[in-house]
């Protein structure tokens, strides 16, 4: 299976033309014609990246027309450009400027799409475990089913109510982290830390009960 789909391709109409500044930070910081050119180029880059990101995620906005999608991308590009300019002094040159700038556009547009897609959806948070394991499972999946059942029980006994609410919403109900952060007045960092601590507790409980070994599953290993 190809890792690159048609939606992953950058819109050709937004391809950049012309020369980029040799020193972006200087060009963007120094008043004059060079700054105007650099600002134009940066905005083109932000547009390119935001349209790319919205296009990648458009399946989550199935009922939204192309005009509205363009508006989301354009607005995200404007906000990403402001973010880049605000953070300009923090650019250390560890990557190329263009790569560094693109990440702001991707973050901004992805967050906008997630929030837009969930704008009219309710997020319920429960601290009582109301999940149940899938079933019936084929005999060959008995071990997997056992793990799911053990995880369900561990959620009840090993997690705090706050950890249960956040972890179930993010990992079971698949509420996007930006959406949950917005609804709770929190941020991505705090929610991920809660999930990290919940995973640590669940693993410790399941290792103690013999349902999990210390080596499986390990993030970032194939």
């Amino acid at each position: 299976m190809s890792l690159v789909s048609a939606d992953d391709r950058v819109p050709p109409s937004l391809d950049l033309t012309g020369a980029d500044p040799e020193n972006w930070v200087e060009a963007l910081s120094t008043p004059g014609p060079g700054q105007d050119h650099a600002m134009d180029r940066l905005h083109q880059m932000m547009l390119r990246a935001c349209h790319h990101q919205v296009r990648r995620m458009r399946s989550s906005l199935a009922s939204v027309g192309s005009e509205r999608l363009d508006e989301i991308a354009n607005q995200a590009a404007d906000e990403a450009m402001m973010a880049v300019l605000a953070k300009l002094s923090t650019f250390e040159g560890r990557s190329r400027f263009t790569t560094w700038a693109y990440k702001f556009a991707i973050l901004q547009s992805a967050t906008e799409v997630r929030r837009f897609a969930w704008a009219h959806r309710e997020v319920e948070l429960n601290d009582a475990t109301q999940v149940m394991e899938c079933g019936p499972s084929p005999a060959s999946y008995a071990e997997a089913s056992d793990l799911a059942a053990a995880v369900r029980l561990a959620i009840d006994v090993a997690l705090t109510p706050h950890q249960r609410r956040i972890t179930i919403a993010l990992l079971v109900d698949e509420v996007p982290i930006d959406v949950l952060a917005q609804r709770l007045g929190s941020n991505r960092n705090a929610l991920y830390k809660t999930v990290h601590e919940a995973r640590t507790r669940l693993r410790a409980h399941l290792i103690a009960s013999g349902h999990l070994t210390t080596s499986l599953p390990k993030a970032g290993t194939s």
Binding site: V10, N189, K193
Partner: protein, 92 residues
């Protein structure tokens, strides 16, 4: 939304029990992702344990890293597939 009797899939069970040590915050991931993506595009075998672990455990950051790979690869006229493959080998 959470509802009574929501099925707990094996995929969710594995995600709930993922070992995400060493810890890296989403903000730290954002700080590092541009450098990490360029390194992966230059060498798909490039390894950075904390980034690899975070991207395996955070769907939002992983999606944004994949997207950055595609943009930079397009800009440089190179194939994103090896770098994407390196991320896909380590799904969240």
């Amino acid at each position: 939304m959470t509802q009574a009797n929501t099925p707990l899939s094996l995929q969710a069970a594995l995600s709930l029990t993922l070992d995400t040590e060493p810890f890296l915050s989403c903000d730290d991931c954002f700080d590092l992702v541009d450098e990490y993506v360029e390194a992966l595009l230059a060498d798909p075998d490039h390894d950075q344990l904390a980034m690899r672990t975070h991207l395996a455990g955070c769907n939002a950051c992983a999606e944004e890293a994949r997207s950055l790979i595609l943009l930079v690869a397009e800009q440089d006229g190179i194939s994103p597939a090896p770098a994407l493959g390196a991320l896909e080998d380590n799904p969240a």
